[in-house]
Symmetry: C2
Subunit: 223 residues, 2 copies
């Protein structure tokens, strides 16, 4: 078809294909690095999984380290996009927290390779002293959550004695362990993600103390 203008089609197709190769390398590398770690993956593995030659990987990325950093950067920017969509609502604390928890948890579950990659990177960075751009994910998440919690506190929607920083770590940590431990603990009765978010937020908001503080042990919202 379009024998007269194969160029247009082919040109765009080629251009796309070029981008597609670089992008496909990134995608494949993210998956493999996430699953097996930096030194657990060879350039040959990546090339094989992407269906190209090993030399071609070096044609698009100067070195394995450069490719790794490109993967981290891509991963980080994608994660930031999620965070942006969080902090601009004006709802009740319970609703907002539950919504964030659900989104954050779902994102972690959907993009487990990226999450693994990031956790691995944190572990690697823990025994060095460099600060690559990627670990800004945690800083960023922390900052956004802390700011948001502080705002809720100012609006009187959160207890005055609450510590936004500790609360942020609790929230993120609960999600992380849920995802990390999901497979190991699957024979236990670990709730599904949606239900976990709901239960988690309710417990964080209301506390788990026996209830000698105010009311009895009646739980109003049980469905």
């Amino acid at each position: 078809m379009d024998r007269d203008f194969p160029h247009d089609d082919t040109t765009a197709d080629t251009a796309e294909r070029i981008l597609a190769v670089a992008e496909r390398i990134l995608a494949v590398a993210e998956r493999l690095f996430g699953q097996r770690g930096y030194s657990g993956v060879s350039i040959r593995d990546i090339a094989r999984a992407a269906g190209i030659s090993k030399a071609n990987v070096f044609h698009h990325y100067a070195s394995k380290q450069a490719l790794y950093e490109a993967v981290l950067e891509r991963s980080a920017s994608r994660f930031h996009a999620l965070l942006e969509s969080l902090a601009d609502h004006q709802r009740e604390a319970a609703e907002l927290l539950e919504d964030f928890s659900r989104r954050h948890l779902r994102n972690m579950l959907e993009r487990q390779d990226a999450l693994s990659l990031y956790v691995r990177h944190l572990l690697d960075a823990a025994s060095e002293d460099q600060g690559t751009a990627a670990e800004a994910i945690l800083e960023r998440t922390y900052d956004v959550l802390v700011e948001r919690f502080a705002a809720l506190q100012r609006q009187g929607k959160l207890a005055g004695h609450a510590d936004p920083g500790v609360l942020a770590l609790t929230l993120v940590g609960s999600h992380l362990v849920y995802v990390l431990g999901r497979k190991v603990l699957q024979q236990r009765a670990v709730p599904a993600a949606e239900r976990f978010s709901k239960t988690l937020i309710r417990q964080l908001l209301d506390g788990v103390a026996a209830g000698p503080r105010a009311g009895g042990q009646d739980q109003s919202d049980r469905q």
Copy 2:
């Protein structure tokens, strides 16, 4: 000294030295595997760090994989020892939780290499389907905590609507993220470990909601 019986001394010393070599390999391997991951560490690295020849490592451990599993096992048993000391008190919920949080967090901080090793192992296991003995750490921690929380609940020291499983994940997750993020977030005002435990437990028990549920926003226990 003891020139007449250098044998006794030397014998015991040699026997100790043999044990010491195997043990030193384990210790060194735990540190290196924890810092750089399984495939990021070569037998040569381990031998060099332990001050022995590479072949000697293979003399004590059949393969790199076998050494790795021995390290995991040793790490796991040490961790279990910590857990045992947890579940046998008869105190108030706040006191017990805070004590566990403090211990658990301190243990994580003191043995970061083992923690890193374990998290890495969890990440590796996540993309496979085998179940080595080491990931039983999480199962075990989870089970002990859940059982303990359920007991507290039966005693009426914990709210009836609390979910022991979610609470366990929250507690462990908060600790994990605290340790993992401690370095990255150190320029933020992240509290010291002791203070973090205290704040964390108080928030988990009392909740962070503004206080509209039952009573006013008076918090009785503020010291």
